[in-house]
Symmetry: C2
Subunit: 234 residues, 2 copies
C-alpha cells in the first residue's frame, strides 16, 4: 500500500518530527515514518539531499509529489489540507505566528543543553548549560507561559472552540518541558491553570489519546530536544 505521507526524521527521538506526527495523528492520516523502518537512516540521509527542494535538516515530509521541510512550513501545509487551521487569511496567519513563537521556545529549550554548539556533547558544555538553563527556567519559561496563557484566556483552544496545529504544538512543548524541567514547569503551570487545562484537553482527544498509548509515540529520552538533566532544573 502506498501511503499518502512519508515523514523523514531521525529515528529514536521525538524531536521536531513530533510536531508533524501529532498533526498527522489528529488528522487521522496514515503515514510512513521512513527512518524508523529497515534501512531507514540511510533512506533519510539519501532523501535529505534529493530533489529540487532539499532540506537543511530533518524533518521533511513527502506529499503530493512535493518535499516540504521546516516544521512550521510542514504544519502550514497540513493545517490547510486537514482543517487544522482556519481557512481565511487572518486566522491562517495568526495560527502560523503562534507556531513560530512555539518554535522559538523549542529552540531555546534545546539550547539549554547545547548552548555552545549542537556538534558538541553535553558533557563538553555543561558549565555553559548550567547558566543558560538558569536563565531559561527563571526568565524565559515564565515569559513564554505568560504570553500563551494570555492568548488562550478562557477559550478551549488558542484560536477559540476549534483545535489548530498550534494547540498540538503547544501541548507537545508543555509535555516536553514537564519532562525536562519538572520543577520549573510545575511552578510556571501553577501560575497558569488554563495552560494545564489545554494540555489535558489535547491529551483527551480520542486520536491523540490513542496515539500516546501506541508504540508510534517514542518516549521522551535524553537524546532529544527535551532532556531530563536534573542539574538544569531549578
Amino acid at each position: 500500500m502506498v501511503q499518502s505521507y512519508e515523514l523523514f526524521y531521525w529515528p529514536g527521538i521525538q524531536g521536531r518530527g513530533e510536531f508533524v506526527r501529532l498533526a498527522l495523528e489528529e488528522a487521522g492520516e496514515d503515514y510512513e515514518d521512513v527512518a524508523r523502518g529497515p534501512g531507514g537512516t540511510d533512506a533519510l540521509m539519501a532523501a535529505l539531499k534529493e530533489g529540487p527542494t532539499p532540506s537543511f535538516a530533518p524533518p521533511f515530509l513527502r506529499a503530493e509529489g512535493m518535499t516540504i521541510g521546516q516544521t512550521a512550513a510542514i504544519l502550514l501545509y497540513l493545517g490547510e489540507r486537514h482543517g487544522l487551521a482556519p481557512r481565511e487569511p487572518a486566522g491562517r496567519l495568526w495560527t502560523h505566528q503562534l507556531q513560530l513563537t512555539i518554535a522559538d521556545l523549542v529552540a531555546e529549550a534545546h539550547d539549554t543543553h547545547h548552548p555552545v554548539g549542537s556538534g558538541l556533547y553535553y558533557e563538553d558544555q555543561k558549565q555553559e548549560a548550567l547558566r543558560r538553563a538558569q536563565d531559561f527556567t527563571s526568565a524565559r519559561i515564565p515569559k513564554f507561559f505568560d504570553y500563551f496563557s494570555r492568548v488562550l484566556g478562557e477559550k478551549d483552544y488558542l484560536l477559540g472552540p476549534e483545535l489548530t496545529y498550534a494547540d498540538l504544538s503547544l501541548f507537545q512543548v508543555l509535555e516536553g518541558l514537564a519532562y525536562a524541567f519538572p520543577q520549573a514547569t510545575a511552578r510556571a503551570l501553577a501560575q497558569h491553570p488554563n495552560l494545564e487545562a489545554l494540555r489535558r484537553r489535547v491529551t483527551a482527544r480520542p486520536r491523540i489519546a490513542a496515539y500516546l498509548r501506541s508504540p508510534r509515540r517514542i518516549p521522551f529520552n535524553d537524546d532529544g530536544i527535551f532532556r531530563r538533566y536534573p542539574e538544569l532544573d531549578s
Copy 2:
C-alpha cells in the same frame, strides 16, 4: 496621509525588522516605521499587547486591519500580496521553507554574542560567547553556506529568474555576517562565489540600492543581531 503599512520594531537597530523593511522597499510600498517616530517606543510597547493577535516580540506589522507578528509570517503575507513569492502552493511553501532556514541562521548568529541569555549583557557571557562563536564560524557558517549555495546553483535567485523575499533575507544575512564576522564570512564566501553574486545582484536592484543609500537604512551597530566583536571572528 494614512499609510498602508505600519511596521513596529525597536528603533536604532536593523534586527529582525530589517527583513520586513527589505520586502516593503522592494515592493515599493510606503510604510510607517512607527517606533522611529516621536513617542515611538511608547507606541511600540503599547501596541505589543493590544488587539486579538498580540506578538511575543517585535517585529509586527499592521495591514488591512490585521496585526501580524513573527518575521517569517509577515513575509509570508507580504510575499503573497506583492509578488515576492510564487503563487502556486509548492513554490510558496519552498520560499517559506528557505525563509525559515534563514531564520535559524539568524538566531544562531544572534546567540554567538548571547549564548547564555538575551536578558544578560554580552560582557557577562563573554567566555561562553567565545566558544559559541568558534563553533559558529568554523562549523555553522560553512554548513549553512554550503546549503544555500547548493540551492542557488547557477540561477539568478534561489527559486529561479524571479526574486523572492527569501533572496532579500539571504542578502541581509550575508551583509550582517560580513559586518559581524568579516574574516570568517570572506573565507566562506570565497568557497561559494554564487552567494557573493547573489549579494551583489540584490544590492544592485534599483529599489534596494535606493533604500541602502537612504536614511531609512539604519547602519549596522553593536546593539543588533549582527555585532562586530573582533574577538568572536576567527
